[in-house]
Amino acid sequence: MAKRSKRHSSHTRSEIKESRKRLLRRILSILLLILCYVPMLGGGIQPLLSIPAAIIISMYDGAYFCMLTGVIAGLEIDLACDDPLGANAMLTVCFCTFVWLLCSRVIRPNIVYFLLLTACCAMLRNGIHYLVTAVLFQAEGREVFWQQILFPSFVRTMIGALPVYLLYLPCIRLLTKRVKSMDAAVMRS
């Protein structure tokens, strides 16, 4: 009986430690999203770094946190690009949930999938923006808008995706490894 209660308390302790690590990882994720918001506010042609940040977080975290990440990333884009609040957030929350579904059931997260999904999401966002602001109104010189604003922004987003990946992944790996090693230590004891 005493043996069973000891095992139960050690299991709870490991769970608490794991939840603490998860909380730390999520705080880091939110910080990454805020950090990615800074370069988006400079005016002119800017990368939409919230997109790669939201995607990398969605690849490694749970469903509800993915949705929250999608909402924050979308609202950041809305504010930086002066779009109606919620317009980009709807797209990113759907895309982040899709990424979570994909990574939890079909693919193993890696840099190739990360870049591919970032490209898809950024292109989708810019494509919808182009459609709604230029094509729908048959605006004169809409091609120029795509060539000189939206496409360069897409390219910069893709270039900026690499530092985002390199910034996020080591933290996550470190935290995950620590959790695993602690679990092992607990089990060993």
């Binding site: 918001y37 949705m67 504010l79 779009d83 759907c94 949930t97 579904l101």
Partner: protein
């Protein structure tokens, strides 16, 4: 992938709730204007320090990068400006006499200075440039609490920048001359030909705007100075808009157009002024 299970799960229901909420926020935001609704105001206020920091970092970075990547363009521009200064200096010799004569006449007739009718706001700081927007839309740090109204012209020492398009208590959105949403009555100072300044996506990415509805029998030419005509009562007459860079005929063949290089460098704006009132405001004068 068991999608069926996902669609039946609580996660999917949460996703739908979030989407419905975001959709509601977006509709509210569209209805009230993208800048004036409560959520946007709150979020903008919260992110203002980040925005200021980001804008200053971007400015500094651009300045340094410009030195390396645009040195040839600056050298050419410098040479062109030197020539321009020489030409203007020659003209100035004649103007000095004319100016003295004009001052004497003004004194005699007691004509007020043109700017006397202007009521200007306190200098406003150009705060938040909108990213990925070719028309150079930006926000200023004063709003309705400072007496600013929607439609008020925004100017700086070089000339007209745009108008106030959205307003909240302590900030306002400025739509610039590059935007297709803004129409300004304009006149060519040299030839007297009139037209409408209306931005176009085709030119705004290069920092240019377009003057449309010019008569095909015009005499406008490159480097002519374009100023506001003041006929609509929305802008005072005589605000500098820019110079003509290129002239052409519209595809319909009915009117001509001119590509205008704005007098104001929209990328280098730091401080602007809002014209709260001026002589003839709201009085259309088509004569």
């Amino acid at each position: 992938m068991d999608l069926h299970a996902f669609f039946k799960s609580a996660k999917f229901r949460v996703l739908l709730c979030i989407l419905a909420l975001l959709c509601g926020v977006m509709l509210y935001s569209v209805k009230t204007g993208t800048h004036t609704d409560l959520f946007t105001r709150m979020l903008r206020t919260a992110s203002e320090p980040i925005q200021k920091f980001s804008a200053s970092v971007t400015d500094e970075t651009n300045k340094h990068l410009d030195t390396y990547f645009k040195s040839k363009a600056y050298r050419d521009e410098n040479a062109a400006l030197r020539e321009e200064i020489e030409r203007l200096n020659e003209e100035l010799i004649g103007y000095d006499d004319a100016l003295a004569e004009l001052r004497a006449l003004r004194d005699q007739l007691a004509i007020k200075e043109k700017s006397d009718g202007f009521v200007m706001s306190e200098p406003c700081r150009a705060l938040m440039p909108v990213s990925n927007d070719p028309t150079g839309t930006f926000y200023i740090d004063q709003g309705s609490a400072d007496g600013i109204t929607v439609g008020a012209p925004v100017i700086c020492s070089h000339g007209l920048i745009g108008v106030i398009s959205e307003l909240s208590e302590h900030s306002a959105k400025v739509t610039t001359l590059l935007s297709a949403e803004l129409s300004v009555g304009a006149v060519d100072l040299q030839s007297g030909d009139s037209g409408i300044i209306e931005g176009s996506l085709k030119y705004s990415a290069d920092g240019r705007t377009k003057m449309i509805y010019i008569s095909t029998e015009n005499t406008v030419k490159e480097n002519d100075l374009i100023i506001t005509s003041g006929t609509t009562g929305l802008f005072p007459r005589g605000l500098q808009i820019g110079t003509i860079e290129q002239v052409g005929i519209e595809e319909t063949g009915l009117t001509a157009y001119a590509v205008i290089r704005p007098a104001v460098d929209l990328e280098a704006l730091e401080s602007v002024t809002v014209l709260l009132d001026f002589k003839g405001k709201g009085v259309a004068n088509h004569g």
